[in-house]
């Protein structure tokens, strides 16, 4: 049986080398800088607290990404931020080229599609790592990402120029 658990040094190394990418992931998820920072800090703190349970069956980054995503989800729920997982009424008054327009388009994606897209874009995870992070089969990642990009592209294409 191989060694299990992650060391504090290993987690710190991920934080120092990949913290900014995790922050972008959290910012895209929470839509607020303060919440995003909290999500990263809390996500890494959770990883430290439960580091003995890391099984080394996947990458440490994937495992920490799960912690950060969960922390972001909890923070969004706690702060009564409009839940991106809930159906949205649409940004009736948003300018078509505004941040809010883009956010609305991203919010309308199903949660798994959105998270897969974020993991691919902000963390540059490969399909295997995305699958490990989301707890899905590797074979479904490609289809999930394709669907997410197609849906988002369609929304953006609808923007009047």
């Amino acid at each position: 049986m191989g060694a299990v658990g992650a060391s504090l040094g290993e987690i710190e190394a991920v934080y120092r080398s990949r913290g900014e990418a995790f922050y972008k992931l959290a910012l895209a998820r929470t839509e607020q800088r303060d919440l995003a920072r909290d999500a990263v800090q809390e996500g890494f703190a959770r990883a430290i607290r439960s580091r003995d349970s890391f099984r080394r069956e996947g990458s440490l980054e994937a495992w920490i990404a799960r912690c950060v995503i969960n922390a972001a989800h909890d923070l969004v729920a706690r702060h009564d931020k409009p839940n991106p997982d809930a159906a949205t009424a649409g940004a009736c008054h948003a300018r078509p080229d505004s941040d809010e327009w883009v956010r609305e388009a991203v919010r309308r994606l199903p949660r798994r599609q959105r998270e897969a897209l974020f993991l691919r874009f902000y963390l540059d995870f490969d399909y295997i790592t995305i699958a490990a992070t989301l707890g899905v089969e590797v074979g479904t990642v490609s289809a999930t990402l394709h669907a997410a990009r197609a849906a988002l592209s369609n929304e953006i294409r609808e923007v009047p120029q």
Partner: protein, 242 residues
Amino acid sequence: MTVDAALEQLVIDGAWMPDWDDVLRRADVIPSVAAALKPERPRLTQRRWALVVLAILIAVSIPLTALAVSEDWWFVGAAPDPAGAVEAVESGVWNGVPWALVAYDSESGGVCYGLSINVPQATRPNGALSCAFLDDGGKPQHSLSYLTAGSADAGFPRYAAGAVQADAATVELQIADGSIVRTQTLPRPATLHTDVQFFVTRLPAGTPADSDVTTISAFGANGQTLACVVVEGHSAEDACRP
């Protein structure tokens, strides 16, 4: 707009400011660090503290004659005696190794400071210590004291720590490869009588120990140069900037 541009737009105003110590506090690691750094009773017959680097890099030399044991710290017996309590200025964990920047007023009238680190395999905390009298005396090199140390064997990074006059806000370290490391100063503990600020920062990985830092400068809140030293072994070409 492309999908990639849209995703970039979501995070365009995100400025990431890492704070590893905050993570450790949230994970309740730092409180246990403080406990781990609490020294055991000194065993003065065992001085094989391989990592101990006593750096007396000061403007005015300190007589090392007062060696009475009044505290349990690893440096007692090898440095000026504390005149009061040894206080923690800052603590953290680097590469998984807990450390604390500690400082005390010395009985010889100066201030001593250093990093106490707790390497897992070591039998007790150890580290590096320096003592100084900070008196500008019209010469900026007299108002900043520093030490550099580290332990590759223990997986502990090279670092610089020091004391500087009280109105310093930032400290800038020029590295031999041309890069610059900046750090904010840390206030002295309330019980410390010597009116100084402190600093501690890890140095970039991979810089050779004998040539990493060339100059150290301290700046006030308005950016004015308050202190500057050329690190021993470096030439006048590395002199402090005006």
